[in-house]
Amino acid sequence: MSIIDDDVPYPDAILHFGVFFQGVNHWTVWSAPDSGSQIDPASFRRVAQTAERGLFDAFFLGEGLRLREVDGRIHDLDVAGRPDAITQLAALAAVTERIGLVSTSNTTFNEPADLARRLSGLDLLSEGRAGWNVVTTDNAWTGANFRRGGYLDHADRYRRAEEFLTAARAIWDGWADDAVATSREAQAWSAPVTPVRQRSSQFDIEVTPTLPRSAQGHPVIFQAGDSSDGRDFAARNADVIFSAHGNDFDDALAFAEDIRRRLRAAGRPEDDLRILPGTEIIIGATEQEAREKARWVRLEQVTPATALNIASLVWGFDLSDRDAEGPVPKEDAVVVENTGAFGARRVADPQAVVTKWREQAEANGWSLRETAIALGPQRGHVGTPAALADKFTRFARHGAVHGFNITPYIIPDGLNDIVDLLVPELQERGVYRTEYAGATLREHLGLRPPLTRRGDLTERAS
């Protein structure tokens, strides 16, 4: 039942899947009997090996540099506690063969010499499978855990990120391709290495690079900013962009078109960046079964306490003493400053959201919890393997996405249905690989060489 459709802009498109271990917020179901450990190395190994069995491009770890808080107290409702990403991925390099290993690492609270070297180490230990999701932090709340302290304002954090990347690339480019001697009888172990000097608004450093490049040149650069600054940063610097635009086809396509426009403006080919929205996929043998499963997942995710927490974030004050199964609060929203304590959750116009929640709750007879489930943060795809495969094929062949970064709602077995049921349907439609063709993450993603290693494209690097 493959779709024969030549009248699409990208008839040969192939979907790329990544898996995001742990995720954030309340999406991970920790209360079910088969909810596994979030820290046991076996959980990581199992998810990575399942993803590899499903021919995924990448296994992806997030980062949090301070435990989340609500009203000055540690948030206790969601999964928390995770390993250092690069360290965990270096361990996975030993027990996987092909899958890419992507670390989320912060440019605000790291230094280029150290982080570039750690990423190089991961890239060498995995023989060219490392990726770096470049993130920034703009709050002093996180800075309280670091020597550096303080914070950068929104504009400076991207400036620092860009200067950081420039330094990292120079460090990665520091060794000649044939720097290391081929024989123990050679004059010296390697050619001399020239220190990298960078003096810019954020850095004054001199670094002697200590590692050669891996089989893929540089770690693959991922970026997830959704603001205009973030998208431009990605268009100038990234190989892959994560997005929140993967639920609705038109929204995904509009985002992809916007990214292609920004790529052209940055002087890059418009196929130079892979767009992988984060998503959740819930599969059932029938539509009915899929819907029932999704209902169960939502109820596990949005517990009464979590519903009250979501509402508190919308309303701007503590609603934890309300009844989640009761009506939507009558009070108006209060605008509060976001300290960063609860991640990137900002509600731009809280009163508008409150009004919408109230109207919908009234119209449908919903409780506060039902309203939070229906109107709270939305994501994901629900359906049978065949229906989902048809839908994703359309996304791919119309250039709306290059794939998805999938957050399993349960660890470690939440990927099984996707690998065992969805992947074969996609393969049947010719939109998913049937074996790994390459060895490196860059090859899996079909990317060109790193931006600073393409000859004439290099001039434009900063």
């Binding site: 190395p41 540690i74 270096a90 180490g121 172990w189």
Partner: protein
């Protein structure tokens, strides 16, 4: 901790303790920086029966001039080794002079989770001015202060989650018990750290902390590496021994001569036949708790250590193979400490 046995540790960085060891290595130079190399050295050390491999490191190039300039970070190698072994413990050297204690704590705690409690930390320091320039920080003069404050913070962060902080209480929808999580609120002379950690408490509670003699106050250290053959004020003391052994192809003396000058680092040094080293180590039993060996050339000396030296020490019960499933603390006879933040009921 007085028993008459000795714990066997070995330093596995690079191609060996001699700066020119690469010239006698059994592989092409570039192979040093591959996963195959890291894996095979760890396998040989584990199979030989060593308790612990240490992995030296610094941000700067390991050698100079004609010698190796390349080195994969010790934490990354340690994590890779932890996932490739089952009984061998691993302790990366991580410097405290310019690094972020919050990151160092997370990285080391992660190695302990990955290894199911087989991790240690060799507390390092960085003297070279080049390091300050690489980090983009002013030169640190008082390295002992940075080492002390960083180690305090790293240890406090390991304790900042009590062992049972993850409760998964379905009745109240709470994943965590926030009363079992603790802000460390450290304020030192040069930095402050709030906490708690982002990594749950390591399986060992506290990783085993190794430090060279004199770098840290004794109460922050579990095992002192000493150049002497007498116990320090810490729970355990390991003597550092540089080792060049006679091989079937060349005597220790010939091998050292072939590589050129071997700069002294003030450690004991043994050059000679395997049985001489067995005798030297046996003589340390009762005086110290363990030895850390620094082989001249890993590929050559490790073969002799595996075939002759370690088997002799195991046979005479001077040393013991680590038991599968045992944590490094358990193997070393160190108790698993309760979190310092945990209220004693």
């Amino acid at each position: 901790m007085s028993n008459s046995g000795l714990h066997l540790a070995i330093e596995i960085d690079g191609d060996g303790a001699h700066p020119a060891a690469w010239r006698r290595a059994a592989h092409a130079p570039a192979h040093l920086l591959t996963p195959g190399r890291v894996r095979s050295v760890a396998a040989v050390v584990e199979n030989a029966g060593f308790t612990l491999a240490t992995v030296d490191d610094d941000l700067l190039p390991p050698g100079s001039g004609r010698n190796p300039l390349g080195r994969i970070g010790a934490v990354e190698r340690a994590a890779f080794i932890a996932a490739s072994t089952s009984t061998l413990s691993v302790a990366p050297t991580v410097s405290t002079t310019y690094t972020e204690p919050f990151h160092v704590s997370s990285q080391l705690a992660s190695v302990d989770h990955i290894s199911a409690g087989r991790a240690g930390w060799v507390v390092g320091q960085t003297a070279a001015a080049e390091a300050a320039r690489a980090w983009g920080r002013p030169l640190v003069d008082d390295r002992a202060r940075e080492a002390r404050d960083s180690t305090r913070v790293v240890r406090d962060l390991w304790d900042s989650w009590e062992d049972d902080a993850v409760i998964r209480d379905v009745a109240t929808s709470r994943y965590l018990d926030r009363d079992r999580l603790h802000y460390i609120d450290f304020t030192g002379e040069t930095f402050a750290v709030k906490g708690p950690a982002i990594v749950p408490r390591p399986p060992q509670g506290q990783l085993v902390v190794f430090a060279p003699e004199g770098l840290l106050p004794a109460d922050l250290v579990d095992v002192t590496f000493t150049s002497a053959s007498a116990r320090a004020a810490t729970p355990l003391t390991f003597t550092e021994i540089e080792v060049a052994l006679d091989t079937p192809d060349a005597t220790a003396g010939q091998r050292i001569t072939d590589l050129g000058p071997w700069p002294s680092r003030g450690r004991l040094r043994f050059a000679g036949p395997a049985d001489g080293l067995v005798k030297l180590i046996t003589g340390l039993a009762g005086q110290v708790d363990g030895v850390r060996l620094h082989p001249l050339v890993l590929d050559e000396d490790l073969a002799v250590l595996s075939r002759l030296v370690v088997p002799a020490l195991l046979r005479s019960r001077i040393a013991a193979r680590p038991v599968p499933g045992a944590s490094l603390r358990a193997t070393l006879g160190l108790a698993r400490p309760a979190s310092r933040f945990q209220e004693s009921a």
